[in-house]
């Protein structure tokens, strides 16, 4: 029986530069999925501190929305959700055996479409910052 050399963590994590489309899609999908779950809990936690009455709800939301970082995070949330939905649709097609030959192209399409939607949403998300409407 020969001995073996364990190439260790390098084997599992150091190879990320060498991933191909399908692998990136998988990693992004897990990542975005869990971010969405995380957001869901934060969302419930924050809102449940603001349900003493209409005023407290309004002030909580207004103060949150006046923070620049929150606006940025919202854009991040949108991109996360859009990518997860688009790539989720891609995965559903893969499960149905449709278009397996272009799985890499559909991943790139999800990325590009996500980018386009997010860029288009920036004006909306940043509107009224700094005391405007």
């Amino acid at each position: 029986m020969s001995q073996s050399y364990n190439r260790g963590l390098v084997e599992d994590f150091g190879r990320w530069k060498e991933f191909q489309a399908g692998m990136w899609a998988w990693i992004f999908h897990k990542f975005t999925g869990w971010i969405l779950v995380g957001y869901l809990f934060t969302h419930i936690a924050v809102l449940s501190t603001a349900i003493q009455g209409p005023e407290s709800y309004t002030t909580t939301l207004q103060s949150l929305e006046s923070i620049f970082v929150v606006r940025i995070l919202e854009i991040g949330l949108l991109s996360t959700a859009v990518f997860h939905i688009l790539n989720g649709t891609r995965l559903l097609l893969v499960d149905l055996g449709i278009g397996l030959g272009s799985q890499d192209k559909s991943f790139y399409a999800s990325l590009v479409l996500t980018g386009a939607i997010v860029v288009a949403s920036v004006p909306t998300f940043l509107a009224g910052l700094g005391g405007g409407v």
Partner: protein
């Protein structure tokens, strides 16, 4: 496909023989044999130097070295070899050149040199590739060669394939046609059915797919793409038409570490040197398993 210098190989072989016989010889003969061997390698190295100078370009190989049985090689390292580039040179050709001219202890498996035997899948420039089917000109230089990831390294570029073979055997990779068919007679297959399983029959058991699979790396019991593809080849074969056998094959496939582990990362399909649509076959078997369990019709 491969262009090797035959004399060089004969030389390497005879020196290996000389070494093997050495124990039976007198000390003087031993010394002579050793001298002859080192002399022959000195000549080979000199020849390599001349060939590099004569060649238009030389390619640098960075090769993973490790040998648990040799002191000084127990700590894995990369060795560099300069090899004169010739048109049509494959990674295997370059490795053989390095072994025959610089270091006879450089160890790797190869046999057919034409993508048939499946013995030389390695990790070349960050991807599982079949060395005899990979052109040096297609790669970025210097070329880095490592043993297949996620398998135990035995020595240098040689990995332990036993686990891969075990997984292949666990799906019963052999035809179990009609037992009552008259013996000595062909069991014919329709053209359409042959077409359907055509790609799945091309597997050469190289293990590249299993090595590339992230799921197989984390779950040692996962059947892996090649074994599932093997099962596909027989499950889809219409000549295996006994209901019981079909059930039996599906049960192997839909066990906990079977088709459902696949997360459609497509890495196996990307690396397969025989271009087998592995993910497609796995997905089809998943649907077969669902259809078999949900009998609405």
């Amino acid at each position: 496909m491969s262009t090797q210098i035959p004399e060089q190989e004969a030389e390497a072989e005879s020196s290996a023989e000389a070494e093997a016989d050495a124990s039976a010889e007198s000390p003087q003969e031993k010394r002579m044999a050793k001298k002859a061997e080192s002399a022959s390698y000195r000549d080979a190295q000199k020849k390599a130097q001349e060939e590099i100078e004569a060649a238009e370009r030389a390619v640098q190989l960075k090769v993973f070295r490790y040998d648990p049985e040799v002191e000084g090689k127990q700590e894995p390292r990369f060795d560099e070899f300069h090899v004169p580039f010739t048109k049509g040179m494959t990674v295997l050709d370059a490795l053989m050149y390095a072994r025959d001219h610089y270091d006879p202890s450089l160890t790797f498996r190869h046999s057919c040199r034409q993508a048939v035997c499946g013995s030389d899948a390695m990790f070349v420039n960050g991807q599982q590739r079949l060395c005899c089917k990979t052109q040096m000109s297609e790669l970025e230089w210097p070329v880095r060669v490592e043993p297949l990831p996620h398998q135990d390294v035995v020595k240098d570029l040689v990995v332990d394939m036993q686990h891969f073979y075990d997984q292949m055997h666990s799906v019963e990779p052999y035809f179990q046609g009609d037992e009552n068919a008259p013996s000595g007679e062909e069991q014919k297959q329709t053209r359409e059915n042959r077409e359907k399983i055509k790609m799945s029959t091309r597997c050469i058991w190289c293990g590249a797919c299993m090595s590339s699979c992230n799921i197989a790396a984390g779950d040692n019991e996962y059947l892996g793409p090649a074994a599932i593809n093997k099962a596909y080849r027989f499950y889809m074969d219409e000549r295996e038409d006994q209901e019981e056998l079909e059930e039996h094959r599906l049960r192997i496939l839909e066990q906990e570490h079977g088709v459902w582990r696949c997360q459609t990362q497509f890495s196996c399909t990307e690396v397969c040197p025989k271009d087998i649509p592995l993910t497609e076959h796995i997905q089809e078997l998943k649907r077969e398993a669902v259809k078999n369990n949900l009998k609405f019709w």
